[in-house]
Symmetry: C2
Subunit: 251 residues, 2 copies
């Protein structure tokens, strides 16, 4: 814990899926043991923001679910990439073909339109079929400068029933077939971390990112100079949990 | 046509899909204009073998389909990778989880078994769903040295209704999530070309590969020292057809 002595920690960025809870396709999911208490303790001692690449539901629905699971947190402290993606699309006059989860369609209702000029992909789960992938491919194949905008670029994430393919691989599939450029909104993009850090009124040096994903959370944070701790929960099947980490920090 | 003067051409390797005909999901597909006459002429003047990465049906079914479309060719002159893949799997004690087209399942009936220790992928089309991709991912995620065996590694191919994603991208997706090794059977592997060339009793220097795919057909052949000609049919929407090429060769 040497690093934490050099510079006082004044705020925490927490990943949600795999750190606070594990998701489920048919139910609320399940809180990871100790994480509810850990969040309470962090809130009482420090500033906290939640940075998630979750794109299968709106921030409102995600906050509601976490509160139902027993977490005491504020919706406005949750940062998800969908609203940032919508802003990006509008700024660049992009009309995406959507490969997103059913529950996320309404978040993008403002930007879809005739003759798509890019593909937008999130953690679409069942929406990734051969037919939808092929439709997205045909959109890209017609473009002079094919562009894929992804919400996150994860390899996989943990669901209660087991690990599940995330958006990254499906984006690689379309890129291989079309040589498309890829732009990623959300972790590991620096701007995404900074939005949450700015909101706490802190700077990069003041915060620690806590997550379970080596690419999006840990690599993403460390690449831009944010300290990061990888938990062994979520996709790592529970060996260091958030509460244990906090105890070790206090010791 | 300078290259053809240096070394006499004594045999031809022909790709099938996109060169002889364009496939269709619901029907026989359609012969490319001039290709039936071109095949007849090649057979009358030279040795010919057909090298296809087609894995959605058996060689027998493919030959039957081509004869129905009007081609005068022999089943034993068609080389497809499925039987070679089966041999490879047996030699290496591999029991694959299958991600192949419904019509190809029977070709692999001999090698599937309990506790798969690799994934085998072909041009599965509708069989590529989130659920099947995720099952394949979970097989790979459990292995110490995850291995994907692919039948071909194409980017896309032409169907009558438009271009369609081929196996390559889907293999890339699973590789991104699992860091699996990939072994490709079929074009562009040298051994696959050589099987057909040996069958003609010729050597690499005597033959010309004719195809529409820059990676599998043209790159694959040229990388191992086989002359190759890219047709602008198939995925390239018909500008140089097989017949035109033969006329130019005779001129």
């Amino acid at each position: 814990m040497e690093a934490f002595r050099c510079n006082p920690v004044r705020g925490f960025l927490l990943d949600i899926t795999g750190v606070l809870y594990n998701s489920s396709p048919n139910s609320l999911g399940r809180a990871i043991p100790g994480s509810i208490e850990a969040v309470n303790r962090l809130y009482s001692e420090s500033r906290v923001r939640f940075v998630s690449n979750e794109s299968s539901e709106s921030r409102y629905d995600l906050a509601k679910k976490l509160v139902k699971l027993g977490f005491n947190l504020k919706e406005e402290h949750i940062f998800t990439p969908a609203p940032i993606a919508v802003r990006y699309l509008k700024q660049h006059a992009l009309r995406p073909y959507l490969l997103v989860h059913q529950g996320a369609l309404k978040e993008f209702a403002d930007v879809v339109g005739e003759e798509p000029n890019c593909v937008l992909m999130g953690d679409a789960e069942e929406t990734f079929s051969y037919d939808t992938m092929n439709q997205a491919f045909r959109v890209l194949a017609k473009l002079e400068d094919p562009l894929i905008v992804t919400v996150g670029f994860g390899k996989f994430y943990q669901r209660i029933d087991g690990p599940c393919l995330d958006v990254g691989g499906f984006a690689k599939a379309l890129q291989y077939a079309t040589d498309a450029r890829i732009i990623t909104i959300g972790k590991p993009a620096e701007s995404f971390f900074m939005t949450a850090i700015d909101d706490m009124g802190l700077s990069k040096e003041d915060v620690v990112m806590i997550g379970d994903d080596i690419v999006s959370d840990i690599g993403g944070a460390m690449n831009v100079g944010i300290r990061a701790v990888q938990l062994r929960t979520g996709k790592w099947r529970c060996s260091v949990v958030l509460m244990d980490f906090l105890i070790s920090l206090a010791a």
